[in-house]
């Protein structure tokens, strides 16, 4: 009789202890990551103007596929694109940059893209941008001078916003890869209401700038 009692004591104690396993993340925003990297040889302080398109492109693969032949990629829903572009423009202004038209010889060009695939395409095709920046550049894609972007793969329905700042003077007709002088990546779960996702995008882009003090030129 007594030994049965002790068996139950042991069983109950074990279940009680094992079931206390910690939970981890509870909300989508708990899984948000903001990564930035830059070329430390690039003199940001010598630059003043930037240009940025009014749309955010949707990247679906490393190679630009154009089934309808209009040379235009897919675009991100304007609600999300506005959240991305507004946050970038506000931060660039507060960091001392002046936005100019792409035809006004900007010092740098900022290209914002998004993807909801499980891969993050850091090396996607330049032709995604040819609709906006018809430079005649025989460019292939991108390279990251002096640093490597991380390559992540995950099985979740993750969303990624990729912001690239390129040196405009490097976009030349002779081509090659375009150097990305600053990269910001926001990665998280592509889940939640529109309001919640746009708020997370804004927070993430603010964080990207706050952890990149070298962008401050004023």
């Amino acid at each position: 009789m007594r030994s049965k009692f002790y068996q139950w004591v042991v069983l109950v104690a074990l279940f009680a202890l094992i079931s206390c396993y910690p939970k981890g993340a509870e909300f989508a925003e708990d899984l948000d990551l903001v990564l930035t990297n830059y070329n430390q040889e690039f003199d940001f302080k010598a630059k003043h103007t930037y240009s940025i398109p009014d749309s955010v492109i949707k990247i679906t693969g490393d190679v630009f596929s154009d089934p309808d032949g209009d040379h235009r990629p897919s675009f991100v829903d304007p609600v999300y694109a506005n959240a991305i572009l507004t946050a970038i423009n506000q931060n660039m202004t507060s960091h001392g940059w002046t936005r100019v038209s792409k035809n006004s010889n900007p010092d740098v060009v900022i290209l914002a893209s998004a993807m909801t695939t499980t891969n993050i395409y850091y090396y996607y095709d330049w032709w995604y941008w040819s609709w906006w920046y018809p430079s005649g550049c025989y460019c292939y894609g991108w390279y990251y001078p002096g640093y490597y972007p991380p390559y992540y793969v995950s099985g979740y329905r993750s969303g990624t916003v990729l912001v690239q700042m390129v040196d405009r003077s490097a976009i030349v007709p002779s081509g090659g890869n375009v150097p990305v002088e600053w990269t910001a990546v926001f990665n998280g779960l592509a889940e939640g209401s529109t309001t919640s996702i746009t708020a997370r995008i804004g927070t993430a882009i603010n964080q990207a700038f706050s952890q990149s003090p070298y962008l401050k030129i004023n």
């Binding site: 042991v10 104690a13 202890l17 094992i18 948000d32 930035t36 990297n37 979740y156 990149s212």
Partner: protein
């Protein structure tokens, strides 16, 4: 299912050991991370269990085996980690699961209703350190050599049933993949013996 299998196994083993006139101890450890483990997770762990099978060779000498499980966990609020030119920000969920597998010896000072003891254990520790960062998990698994001194007191309630209160210090040595992990646990438990 795994949990049920584990619990049933423990009960069966404890019965087998009791049948051989030895003792079985189950205790609840409250563990305080120290050293490198503390640098990674500073929070006290209230998640764990510890079991021992011991054979008393002489009134003051006991040999035994010990295992158990201890889970250390901490949510690290959003911070920016910088390496070279790269910076990454986010919340980290840090876990360290530890299962010691040790052989030990205890020296008792029999004194009526209470028996103070000192002991030392040697063996290995399974250490699984996982960091959840965004949607990604970085895991390191090692089996370091481990030394575990301990001290405690047995309280004899009635024949075959004692209580125990003890302190164990687990010191795991460095491995190539992970620096030494150490923690101190305060254990309170029951000792069943024949």
């Amino acid at each position: 299912m795994k949990k049920i299998a584990l619990a049933v196994t423990v009960v069966l083993i404890s019965q087998a050991v009791l049948a051989q006139h030895n003792s079985f101890t189950i205790s609840y450890p409250i563990a305080f991370p120290m050293g490198n483990l503390h640098d990674y997770i500073s929070a006290t762990s209230f998640r764990g269990f510890n079991i021992e099978f011991n054979r008393r060779q002489k009134p003051n000498l006991e040999f035994g085996l010990e295992t158990g499980w201890q889970t250390f966990y901490q949510r690290e609020e959003s911070k920016t980690y910088t390496s070279g030119t790269a910076s990454i920000s986010g919340i980290q969920y840090r876990y360290t699961n530890i299962a010691p597998i040790l052989a030990g010896v205890k020296f008792y000072k029999p004194s009526g209703k209470t028996e103070p003891y000192l002991g030392v254990g040697l063996g290995v520790m399974y250490v699984n350190r996982s960091t959840d960062f965004g949607l990604y998990r970085i895991t390191t698994e090692v089996w370091p050599f481990t030394l575990r001194p301990e001290a405690g007191v047995l309280f004899h309630f009635q024949p075959g049933v004692s209580g125990m209160l003890g302190v164990k210090y687990y010191a795991a040595f460095n491995t190539d993949d992970l620096d030494g992990q150490s923690y101190l646990s305060i254990n309170i438990g029951v000792v069943l013996s024949h």
